[in-house]
């Protein structure tokens, strides 16, 4: 194993054995899947305590037509209001409907034994309005009205298709694309920043603890810098792979827990049929997608390509900054040329998600400083091959250029102590031989 190999191994081994690494690696996917299934689980819990409402119907029109669902159960009653004034067990409350309710729809009163919720009131309003509107229509005495009404009922649902270059069409969900674009853009940003900072801290640590003096008598500064950058990159990729695998496993477990077979969701989504009641469709769609290996692999592939490119580009800059300063606090100002393009790429990403093919989106996904985040955000929507290739070529060639510049600064910087250098001085260092 070459010297870079030995350095990479040390960077990798010391970092993945850290307790903080192990904890975040295990907890993040759990948190992620947890947040996705929480709404569904909550809904499940709510369905268990359905509310029973007694209906005192003075109009004799409404009561029979009220349709109960698993949240609200309507029961017409002969009891008088006086009988119900006292607390009744197993009841949420009662509704008093006025005799002339069709003409005067405000003559409805809800009395509850426990505090009512907006949700419940809306549901009751909707149900009553439906019946009153229907009754009013009936009063016009139109022939065959019942069948007309059944006929005009519609439940429109848009199924979207993306036209690929090879002409094949596949169903795509824009909500899902947007979600994935967002998540992966943020992922790249987060990973690049987090692990880039780690490179900088590592360089500063070696410099301030003078380890670099010992190291540099056995290895070249370039080897030391690249070893650190690559070693930390492999930590990041390891963490990402573990996250992906755990998210898939946890998603499967989560779906099983709420007793839904991923295949049935996929089927029902394709058929356009409705899901079992009480299941949050969006979350379920997302969860199911996360159990779809081929989709994950294509996203995963581009993530790796853009993460490595973007990370290497930024890590080289972080390493150069780390070598020039003697503490993390001192690095703030020199970090600006790194943090500004990173923040910018997040802002651009947010607009790109809404307009994935705008001029801004195309340009920003080719400029190497913004391309990792922005392109990652565009990929789920589909990107022309030439743009992808140009962007990757630009990214990787500028990374090589940046490593060259950074190694020049690094070589001088690691032996410099005392005053923090200005940008002008850094520029001078590049020109040293």
């Amino acid at each position: 194993m070459g010297k870079i190999g030995i350095i990479i191994a040390r960077e990798f081994n010391t970092r993945i054995r850290k307790r903080s690494f192990i904890i975040t690696t295990m907890l993040m996917p759990l948190l992620f899947v947890g947040l996705m299934i929480a709404p569904t689980l909550l809904m499940r819990m709510e369905t268990d305590n359905s509310r029973t409402i007694l209906v005192i119907d003075h109009s004799n029109v409404i009561g029979d037509k009220l349709i109960s669902n698993n949240k609200l159960i309507y029961k017409t009653t002969d009891k008088s209001e006086e009988d119900l004034k006292t607390q009744q067990s197993g009841l949420f409350g009662y509704i008093v409907i006025g005799a002339d309710v069709i003409k005067n729809p405000n003559d409805i009163k809800l009395h509850t034994y426990e505090s009512s919720t907006l949700d419940t009131e809306y549901a009751i309003n909707r149900e009553l309005n439906r019946i009153i509107e229907q009754e009013r229509l009936m009063n016009h005495n139109i022939k065959g009205l019942g069948s007309i009404i059944n006929n005009i009922k519609s439940n429109a649902k848009v199924t979207s298709f993306k036209i690929e270059e090879d002409g094949e069409k596949s169903a795509s969900s824009s909500a899902l694309s947007m979600g994935i674009a967002y998540v992966f853009g943020i992922f790249i940003y987060m990973f690049t920043f987090m692990y880039g900072m780690m490179v900088m801290q590592g360089v500063i640590e070696e410099k301030s603890s003078k380890v670099v003096e010992v190291l540099i008598s056995s290895v070249k500064p370039f080897q030391l810098m690249m070893g650190k950058i690559i070693g930390i990159a492999s930590v990041a990729i390891t963490q990402f792979c573990i996250w992906m695998i755990l998210i898939v496993i946890f998603s499967n477990i989560a779906l099983q827990m709420i007793t839904i077979d991923p295949a049935t969701i996929q089927n029902s989504m394709q058929m356009g049929a409705s899901l079992p009641a009480g299941v949050d469709t969006e979350a379920m769609t997302a969860l199911t997608t996360l159990t779809d290996w081929s989709f994950l692999l294509s996203i995963f592939g581009s993530f790796i390509i853009y993460f490595i490119g973007g990370y290497l580009l930024y890590a080289a800059m972080f390493a150069a900054v780390g070598s020039a300063v003697s503490s993390v606090e001192e690095s703030q100002q020199l970090q600006l040329p790194i943090t500004i393009p990173m923040m910018l790429s997040i802002f651009i990403m947010i607009s790109v998600i809404k307009e994935p093919n705008s001029t801004l989106a195309v340009i920003a996904s080719i400029i190497p400083f913004t391309s990792p985040v922005v392109m990652m955000a565009r990929i789920p929507y589909g990107v022309p091959t030439w743009e992808l290739v140009t962007s990757i070529v630009f990214l990787y060639s500028s990374f090589i250029g940046m490593v060259w510049v950074a190694s020049k600064i690094y070589r001088v910087g690691i032996f410099m102590h005392g005053k923090r250098p200005s940008f002008k001085e850094l520029f001078k260092w590049i020109k040293y031989n």
């Binding site: 030995i6 003078k210 010992v214 056995s218 290895v219």
Partner: protein, 307 residues
């Protein structure tokens, strides 16, 4: 034979000249002291020898050939600023540095075992460096420096931070390594250690090598014409006999011997003086006062020495 020779090396940093046409040669198997005040350019010279930085002009020859990158395997360097990864375990860290110096893992482990036993620090193997005291960390660092059995060892202030017992142990190890054929360059401000163990020295001041040579030869070279006399007899008579000679007596209460310091304008005529003394009093001893390295260092740096 010379193991290392530095020829006309100059190094310019952005705003100062760190080394100005420095030449020196280190004989194989010697202990070579690199002396000089802070900021004189010693560390820059050591870095050039370690192939960390390149000189602007001049060259460094190592074992008869121009110094190249692979020579670092044959050099061990203990920098003045000791550096170890604080969060890493001692054993693991020592293996890491050894492997960077070209040792295999198993070789590194067996050699480390030997040294850890020798220094009786086996129980430190699994400790983190941050849990060690400064002196303990120094020991570990020393082992790391010598582990790959380099032909040339460079110690920058090796004794700083050591208690007298450990400093002695270290001194013995250095002499041992010399016996085994290693050449040692060490940079220090501690002149007594120079006198004790160095064979040769170079004195670097303001980027220049102002004094080089064998320790004893240098001392003789700068010995003044001052003599130390012990005798018994009459002081008055002696004064009269040596009329015109700068002589200062000092009382020696514990014995009958008396002593005096005699300063002559030059070393010529010493025999004449001795015979005059011999005629007047009984001589117990008559010694030339040899300057300490400390005096030579201070005088040379302050420009009082005739170089």
């Amino acid at each position: 034979m010379e193991i290392l020779s530095v020829k006309n090396v100059s190094k310019q940093y952005s705003n100062h000249l760190a080394l100005d046409d420095v030449s020196l040669s280190v004989p194989e198997g010697s202990i070579y002291g690199l002396l000089g005040p802070n900021g004189a350019g010693k560390t820059t010279l050591i870095r050039i020898i370690n192939h960390i930085t390149a000189p602007d002009s001049g060259e460094v020859m190592f074992m008869g050939k121009r110094l190249c990158a692979d020579d670092v395997y044959k050099i061990g360097y203990l920098p003045e600023e000791r550096g170890l990864y604080k969060k890493m375990k001692v054993g693991e860290q020592a293996i890491y540095f050894a492997r960077l110096k070209g040792l295999s893992k198993s070789e590194a482990i067996s050699r480390l075992k030997y040294w850890f036993t020798k220094f009786q620090i086996e129980e430190w193997w699994d400790k983190k460096v941050e849990d060690l005291s400064k002196g303990m960390a120094q020991k570990v660092q020393f082992i790391i420096t010598v582990l790959h059995k380099p032909k040339l060892l460079i110690f920058d202030e090796p004794f700083s931070g050591f208690d007298p017992i450990n400093a002695n142990m270290l001194k013995e190890e250095i002499l041992n390594m010399k016996k085994e054929g290693a050449t040692i360059i060490f940079s220090t401000h501690n002149m007594s250690s120079v006198e004790e163990i160095c064979d040769h020295i170079s004195l670097i001041n303001r980027s220049k090598n102002i004094l080089s040579g064998e320790v004893n030869e240098i001392k003789q070279r700068y010995a003044s014409s001052t003599y130390d006399l012990a005798f018994s007899g009459d002081e008055e008579q002696l004064s009269r006999a040596l009329f015109g000679v700068n002589i200062a007596f000092s009382e020696n209460k514990e014995s009958d011997t008396k002593s005096a310091i005699i300063k002559l304008p030059s070393t010529d005529g010493v025999r004449d003086i001795i015979s005059k003394i011999n005629e007047t009093v009984d001589i117990y001893s008559f010694n030339k006062v040899i300057p300490s390295m400390n005096d030579i260092f201070i005088n040379a740096v302050e420009g009082k020495l005739n170089l």
